[in-house]
Subunit: 240 residues, 2 copies
Amino acid sequence: MEAQEYVERGKHLFIPQLSIDTVVIGFRDNQLKVLLLEFDGQWMLPGGHVYHHESVEEASKRILLERTGLAKYYLKLFHVFGDSDRSFPCEMKQIFEKIGMAWKEDIWINDRYVSIGYYALVDIEQAKPTGSSFTQKYAWHDLKSLPEMWFDHEKIVVKAHKTLEGDVSLHQHSFNLLPEKFTMPQLHQLHEQILDKKLDRSRFQKKMLSLDIFERLPELKEGVPYKRPYLYKFKRESRV
Amino acid sequence: MEAQEYVERGKHLFIPQLSIDTVVIGFRDNQLKVLLLEFDGQWMLPGGHVYHHESVEEASKRILLERTGLAKYYLKLFHVFGDSDRSFPCEMKQIFEKIGMAWKEDIWINDRYVSIGYYALVDIEQAKPTGSSFTQKYAWHDLKSLPEMWFDHEKIVVKAHKTLEGDVSLHQHSFNLLPEKFTMPQLHQLHEQILDKKLDRSRFQKKMLSLDIFERLPELKEGVPYKRPYLYKFKRESRV
C-alpha cells in the first residue's frame, strides 16, 4: 500500500489504536541480526495494523510475509506495549513533512497505540526483505549495536532480545535461525550469541545431542580447511 | 460503575475494541480454583477495558483490585485472543434483555474485541471478591471442572491453565497461591495440581530446597494430628 493510501484509508480499514511491531531476527557471521527499515537516517521495525477481517495472528503473519517474503519461521508474541503515552506526534509530523504529505494533529496515526510485539526467528539466507509504505530501505543490523531508531522501537528490540534469552523453548526453536544443514560449532556459536555468554563446547554439544531433536547427516561440511565437521539437521519434516 | 453508566459512557472512556480478561487462580482444599462471576446461570471471567489515560498494565491491576481487593499477586500476560470473530451479539443481547436495558445492534460493546489475557496467582484466603457492573454473584470453581460459561471464556481459562503448566517460572511464583507460611506437603500438592501429575515426594522436596528460595521457620505446623511438619516461607521480603 502506498503511504498516501495508507494514511487516507487506514482509519477505516484497521482496528483502531492497535498495532503490531515485529522484531525479525536472523543469524549471520556469528552475529544475531535484526531487520530494520530506514527513514531519514533513523531506523524502525517492520510493523502494521490489524484489518477488521483478520485475526491478530493472521495480521502478524501477513506483515512478516510482506516484509521478508518468508512463510517459514518461528513467530512468538512476546509482549504487549501498552503505556498510555505511546503516541509520537512530533516524530510522525517529521516523517509526514519529509514525505511531503499533509499533516493534521487529529490524524488516526497520531493516536495512542497499544502495540503487540512479536519476534520472528528466520533463516536470514532465505529472507527477501522489501520496504514498507514509507521507505524502501532496509538492512540487517547487529542486535547488540543498534542504530538510532524511531519511536520506542529500540526498547521493543531490547525487550525481544531479553525474552529470547529467557525462552525455555530456545533449544527447540533456535534452529530456525540456521540453514537447513548446520554444524555443532554453528549451533554452539548461535546459542552463545543469544545467551550472550560463553558456553562450554563439549558440555553444550552433549546437551544438544541428548535432546534427540537433531539428526546427523552422512556428509561432512564442505569448504572447511581441516577436520571437516559433521552436518546436522532438525529431525522434524518441516520447520515451524 | 453501574451497568447503565458503563454502557452509555464506555464508548468514550476506553480504547475501542480492546478488552482484558483475567483468570484469577487460587488454591484451596488441594484444588486449583478460578474466580468466576455468575450471570443468569452461566459464568464469566472478571475483566474490563483500558481507559484512555491508563496503561494496559495499570488497567489489568485496577481490574484485579476491583474484583478481588488484592494488591499482592503474581500477574502474567499469557495470551492475546485476537480472532476476527470475537464478538458475541447474541449473548450480549440476552444479557441486556435480562437486565432490562435497551439493546442496539451498533452498540460499542457489540464490536469485535481483541482481548488481552492475564492470569493472576493469588492467596485465596486474602481475596475479597466483589461482583461487577453486571452481577454481584461470584464463586471459586475447580479449574478442572468448569461450569457453563459465557462467550469464549472457557477457552481462555483452559489456555491460562495450559500456560501455567508450562511456565518456567512456576517454581518462583507458585508460592503466591499459598498462605505466607506453608509446609512442603502443601507445596508438593500444589505442584501436582498445577502440573496435573504425580510428583515423587522426596525428589520434589529435594529440588525445591535446592532452589534456595525458601526459608525454614523455627516453628512447626499446629493442629496436625501427628509428626507436625516444618513451616516454610519465601525468602524475599514481599511477594510480587
